[in-house]
Amino acid sequence: LAKTTQPISMDSYEGQEVNITCSHNNIATNDYITWYQQFPSQGPRFIIQGYKTKVTNEVASLFIPADRKSSTLSLPRVSLSDTAVYYCLVGDDRNTGGFKTIFGAGTRLFVKA
């Protein structure tokens, strides 16, 4: 299983762009990179998923370099409501051999006014 390493916590201010980097040196060829967001007392919520290069949706962008050993979640112009825990997951859940998605400890983002 590809292990992921993220910063434990980050602080930012409203209106700033926040970049959270995740390391996954042992990523396998078929693995996808997925990010979830979790607010206190709620279940995680899917943010974005990608395989290589750049993926963008209405919430965030995901940058993945050519070697895929890391990825960066970019949140543009954060607000107080973006204060949450962000999880980086690496895995290929399509394998019939078993379920592989593992949640790590995540990155606690705290956005200040």
Binding site: Y32, S41, P44
Partner: protein
């Protein structure tokens, strides 16, 4: 659409008691999952199901049993609760994972305390 719902929201048990947590989804998803989350930690997969009538062990299955008799429901049972099972339990569901789409939809969680 209600999405993924969990019953109950809170529960307090005494050591040795048993209980069942119910998860229901109305999105016609094939896959369903049970996770536990301890304070300050990430989620750990307990059991999962890839379809009606199937179950499989996850990362931390000991002390739990599951059943998926209907596609929309996934039950998590604790036969003899222990204080180490005090946690928040999340249920999730997803479509069959395929290229670029394995988003899981989570329920609101059940907070369980075992005294």
């Amino acid at each position: 659409n209600a999405g993924v719902t969990q019953t109950p929201k809170f529960r307090v048990l005494k050591t040795g008691q048993s209980m069942t947590l119910l998860c229901a989804q109305d999105m016609n998803h094939e896959y369903m999952y049970w996770y536990r989350q301890d304070p300050g930690m990430g989620l750990r997969l307990i059991h999962y199901s890839v379809g009606e009538g199937t179950t499989a062990k996850g990362e931390v299955p000991d002390g739990y049993n599951v059943s998926r008799l209907k596609k929309q429901n996934f039950l998590l049972g604790l036969e003899s609760a222990a204080p180490s099972q005090t946690s928040v339990y999340f249920c999730a569901s997803s479509l069959i994972p395929r290229t670029g789409n394995n988003e899981q939809f989570f329920g609101p969680g059940t907070r369980l305390t075992v005294l």
